[in-house]
Each structure stands twice: as C-alpha cells, then as structure tokens.
C-alpha cells in the first residue's frame, strides 16, 4: 500500500527530453493508467518510478519518502513486463519464489505464498513447468503471480497485454481488474491502448511527447477533454473533427452554422484564429425534434458497419472554403483530404441504414467541443477545470 508522488519529474537522454516535469500523485490503492502513443515517455516514467531509470530532475516520493536514490531492489515494487521476462531456466514455481528467496523468507512461508498466488491465478497445475511449455496467457499469469507473491507496495505493469491475441487480452483485462479489486494494491499501468485505459483505470494520465496533457477519470477525459489530442485519443471510434469559424452568435461549420447562446460563445474569445469543432460519433443523431439548438444536414452513407449493438455510419462532408485542419499526426486520424472529411455516426441499430442511403444528420451545439486550432486548447471548458 502506498502513495506515489511525482514532483516535477523530468528525464533527459542525450539530446532528448523523454519526460517533461511530470507532476502528479497516484493515490493509495488506485489503479492509475499512463496512456499515450509510442514514444510519449510513459514507459520511461514507469521505469523511473520502479528505479530502473535515473531521475534527471525532480523528485519521486513513496509514502512521503524520497526514493530517487533508492535501488530498485529496495523499493519493494513489483513489475510485469511486456515480454513477461520470465526466467526461462526456472520452473513456474521457481519463477514465483525467486523474489521471495531474495527477500530471505522462510521456505514454508515461500511455499504458502506461491501456493496462494497459484490458486488465485489458477496456475496450480503448471507449477513444475518451464515457461516455454506455457501458452501466452499462462505466461502472462505467471508474470502476474511473480508480482503478487511479494505483497509489494505497488504493482507496475508495462503493456502487459500487448503480446496476447485480442480475445485473451479482453479476458486478462478483466482478470487484472478483478485482481486489483481483490488485493487493493496501488497499481500503475502503462498502455498505448485507450480501450484498456478506459476500462481499467480509476484515473488516467494522457501523455504525449513527454508531457502529461491531462489527468482524470475515464469519464472526465471522455466528456471534458482539455485539448484536441486527448479528445482525439480517448474514445473509439475517435471523435469527429471539422474545421470551424467564429461568427456573430454562431459557430460556422462546413455543413452549416450552429446557433450558440452568447454566454457560451464568449468562452471562445474574440481572436480570429481558426477553430476545430469536435463531437463524438454518438452525438450525431438521425432522429429528433427540430430544435433550434440542433444543426441538421443531409448526408449520404458511404460505409455502414453493423456490430449488433452498434451501427456506425461513415459519411463525407465537403469542406467548402474551410481551410485544412491540422490534427496532431500521432493521433492517426486520417479521415479525408483538402476537399472533404469523413465523419462517423454511432446510431441506434434499429435504423435500417444501407450504404448509399441519404440521411439527415443532426448535431446539437451542446455536444460540440470547440478547440483552438493553433494551441489545441478546448475552449468549451471553463478555465476552472484544472485537476492538477
């Protein structure tokens, strides 16, 4: 059990800054996620917490005690690696007992703890096997077992599921969540997969290029993304973006203009810089009242994906005189060119939409996030929303 506090932690490698002044606290017992695209510094941050990388600047405290200079062996944290890092020359039992032997525990105690971990993770039958005789999911569980036998102050997991196939990944995800509920140990989990982040995390820190962009609960990140990157990164399918312009009491989008009450429009400031409007696929509706707050426009379904519980409709919007949008490249949102942009709507599968059908699509101004195109700041949020 422990609280991990990062105080303006930076990491510089020769010629590059991997982590820039990370400043946040992971609460006791929390399931905390570090998420971001590759190269965002999330693994470096994790390695600094566990002690495998030196801290260039700043301070890491565990339960109020500075640990910068503490060797990893003295931090009593357990880590699960992406490669699992099981010792290939040891049996499953020996793998799990290894940290306990190093801690000089008595043999009966070691046996007791290994047996308990094996029982929790359903590894009893495999204790005498070598890692090479195990499947991917079993290896993953052994790695978890080696972590939990120590009863450590914190679990650190570095992309633990990325070597598993899709089905197993979902299964292990729930197992990890259940394990955390059962043990209640502070857990820091690194992933590049926003779905894992959303489903597992109590709180999530979104990192990009070494910077922590936003920290919050999954709901906060989803509903109140502080900037364009977080908005585009969290959520699947990703948020729709369209170039936008300020106008008197209105927000002009390529398909039309949205009437915005003056009080709300004020937040966007009076600058003349280009804007980007963002809205979630589920906020595009195909049915509803003709409310003044809703912009209706015609669209032609290009691609329809029916997933049983969901129906995704992709359609193009001509950009008509609006400049090209500069979306962050690492968001990997490629949905168009200079002339048109593809939007996706998540609608009720009861609608029998077919490819090539024409529909009327509605968008409520209350569901639209407005971002400053230059800074990426979300202008819709009042400035009071500063979690850290």
């Amino acid at each position: 059990m422990s609280e991990i506090e990062l105080r303006k932690v930076s990491k510089r490698f020769t010629g590059a800054t991997a982590v820039k002044r990370a400043n946040f606290t992971i609460r006791d017992g929390e399931f905390f996620i570090l998420v971001g695209p590759s190269g965002c510094g999330k693994s470096t941050l994790l390695n600094m917490i566990v002690g495998l990388e030196d801290v260039s600047e700043g301070e890491i405290r565990i339960d109020g005690q500075r640990v910068n200079e503490l060797d990893p062996k003295d931090r009593n944290m357990a880590m699960v690696f992406q490669s699992y890092a099981l010792y290939p020359h040891m049996s499953v039992r020996e793998n799990m007992a290894f940290p306990l032997k190093l801690a000089k525990l008595s043999n009966p105690e070691i046996d007791r703890r290994v047996a308990r971990a094996a029982q929790i993770l359903e590894l009893d039958e495999y204790l005498d096997r070598r890692p090479r005789a195990l499947s991917g999911g079993q290896r993953q569980r052994v790695a978890m077992g080696r972590a939990i036998v120590r009863e450590p102050r914190a679990f650190l997991l570095d992309e633990p599921l990325s070597n598993l196939d899709a089905k197993l990944r979902v299964q292990m995800r729930t197992e990890i969540a259940r394990l955390h509920n059962r043990l209640g140990t502070t857990t820091v989990y690194v992933t590049h997969d926003q779905t894992e982040a959303m489903t597992l995390g109590d709180r999530i820190a979104v990192l990009r290029k070494g910077e922590v962009l936003q920290i919050g609960t999954p709901r906060e990140l989803y509903e109140r993304p502080r900037n364009l990157f977080v908005a585009g990164f969290i959520g699947s399918p990703a948020m729709n973006f369209l170039p936008a312009r300020r106008a008197e009491g209105r927000l002009e989008l390529p398909p039309g203009a949205l009437e915005i009450p003056a009080y709300n429009a004020k937040r966007w400031g009076t600058g003349q810089g280009p804007l980007i409007a963002g809205f979630r696929p589920e906020h595009l509706r195909v049915i509803g009242e003709r409310d003044v707050s809703v912009l209706w426009f015609a669209a032609r379904a290009e691609v329809v994906e029916w997933l049983g519980a969901d129906l995704f409709v992709y359609f193009d919007v001509a950009l008509k005189g609006f400049g090209e949008m500069d979306l962050p490249e690492d968001l990997d949102i490629q949905r168009g060119d200079t002339a048109r942009h593809t939007l996706v709507a998540r609608i009720d599968p009861a609608h029998a939409v077919q490819e090539g059908d024409s529909l009327r699509v509605g968008l409520d101004w209350r569901d639209v996030h407005v971002f400053d195109a230059a800074s990426g700041q979300n202008l819709t949020l009042s400035n009071a929303v500063n979690e850290h």
């Binding site: 495998l52 650190l156 070597n163």
Partner: protein, 280 residues
C-alpha cells in the same frame, strides 16, 4: 510425391556418404597413431594398419617415464587455470561491453580482435627474454599469461555475441524482484549464458592444451613443460631406437582429455542453446 520422397532419400544418402568421407579422411591419422601405439616395438615398421599383436608396452613405458606424468600434470594445471581465468575475465568484459555505455567500447572489441589475430611467433623471442629477466621462465604463470592473452579476445567475442541475445528485461526483472546487480547476474544471466561459457571454455582449453610454440620456447624442465613439448623430448629405450611407439602412445593419452571434454560440454551446449531460445 514419389519423386519428392526419392529426392529426399537421395539427398540424405549423399549427405551421409559425404560425412563418411570427411570423417574417414579426418580420422585416418588418428587411427594410424592409435595403431602405432598398440604395436610391439619390433612391428613398428611393418606398414600395417592393424597391429599383428596388440601390446600396451608403449603405454607402460610412457607412464613409467617421470617426465611424462609431470608434463601431464603441468598441462592439466596450466590449461585448466588459463581456461578458468580467461572465461571469467571474458564474462566480465563481455558483460560490460554489451551492457554498459562507455566511451571506447567499440575500441575494446576491435583491440581484442587485433590481439587474437596477432601471430604468436612474432612475440616469442622478446617474451623469452622478458620472462627470463622477470623470473617467469619455466613457470606455470609464464605459460598461463600468454595463453590468457591470446584466448581472452576469443572468449570476449563469443560471450559478447551471446550476451547480446539475452533478453535484458530478465535482468531488469531480477533487479525489481530484489536482486543486487551481482545476484541478478549470478542467478539469472549466468545460467542463461552457460552454453556460451562452455563454448568459450572448450576453445580456450583446447588452445592451451594443444599449444606447442609457447610451451617449447618458454619452458626448460619438468617444472612447467606441458605434454606437447615433452613429447618432443622423448627418447627411445636405447639410443639406436626411434621413440615412435612412445610418441604415439603419449599422443593418444593427451588426445583423450580433449575428446572427453568436448563430449561432456557438447551436451551442455546443445541443451543450453534450446533453453536459451525461449522467448521472454
């Protein structure tokens, strides 16, 4: 289908025949020596491959000779110590070269290689004089030092190539699990590196065991003379007799340890290689 099976059988047959040719070609001198060592002195010149009468008289003679047992002891000791030291130092050096970022680590590998390619014969003369001055002439240390010098580069290269293949997450995992860097090395990395260690050990041991040049130049008495050098000093039972039989018997005796060592370590190497191939 049938053609494919025929083809496979044909290929196997060719490989088999080729292997037999190579093995026979390589083993004929060994067979000849073995045959000589088992002949009676009188039959040595009979030009037969199989001895008319099998006799162990040369072996008895060789082991009666105090010179030979001293040389055998010297060979074992010198080759053993050289192997131990060279492999140990090679492990530390290779570990550092692979794991640590420090200026000049490429230079170390290049320098090691250049030493390995250095012709030993070119330093024999100076070494002879230096050893006599500093008192290393005709001592174990006087042979162990050059053996380590010439085998260490080889050991470093073999071991560093292997260390590079070891997933270093294992080292990190051990460190997080509570091991000191030394314990992580001893309990996790070293067992995985065992095949490479055995390979390096065999090669170093063979170099030291087989060496004739240093042994003949830097020793003069039974204090440090190794078997290859001692064989050159063999004499016959009388001054009119060639020591052919004794030399053959001694050669067979010194070949045995090498064969045994290779057979023992070969198993470890094969077993170890497959164990190391496990991903993660």
């Amino acid at each position: 289908m049938a053609g494919g099976a025929d083809h496979g059988r044909m290929e196997r047959w060719c490989w088999g025949a080729g292997s037999v040719v190579v093995i026979v070609y390589a083993l004929i001198p060994v067979a000849w020596i073995l045959s000589l060592s088992l002949k009676r002195s009188a039959d040595l010149g009979d030009n037969r491959l199989f001895p008319q009468v099998v006799s162990l008289e040369h072996y008895a003679a060789v082991f009666r000779d105090p010179q030979f047992s001293a040389a055998l002891w010297n060979s074992l000791g010198i080759a053993g110590i050289s192997t131990l030291v060279a492999v140990l130092l090679g492990m530390f050096a290779a570990y550092a070269v692979v794991r640590l970022e420090f200026p000049g680590r490429r230079v170390i590998l290049a320098a090691a290689l250049s030493i390995a390619m250095f012709p030993p014969v070119s330093i024999i003369g100076p070494l002879f004089n230096i050893w006599r001055t500093v008192g290393l002439y005709d001592t174990w240390a006087g042979l162990i030092l050059p053996y380590i010098t010439f085998t260490l580069p080889l050991a470093i290269w073999i071991l560093s190539a292997f260390f590079r293949e070891i997933p270093w997450d294992l080292d990190k995992a051990a460190r997080v699990d509570g091991a000191t860097p030394l314990k992580a090395f001893v309990f996790v990395i070293a067992p995985l590196a065992a095949p490479a260690v055995f390979t390096a050990a065999i090669l170093v041991f063979m170099f030291a065991w087989n060496d004739f040049l240093f042994a003949i130049s830097l020793t003069s008495t039974n204090d440090a003379r190794t078997v290859p050098a001692a064989i050159a000093f063999f004499t016959g039972s009388s001054r009119f007799q060639q020591p052919t039989g004794s030399i053959a018997a001694a050669s067979v005796v010194v070949t045995l340890p090498i064969i045994i060592v290779v057979l023992i370590f070969q198993r470890r190497i094969v077993a170890g290689l497959t164990a190391g191939a496990v991903k993660g």
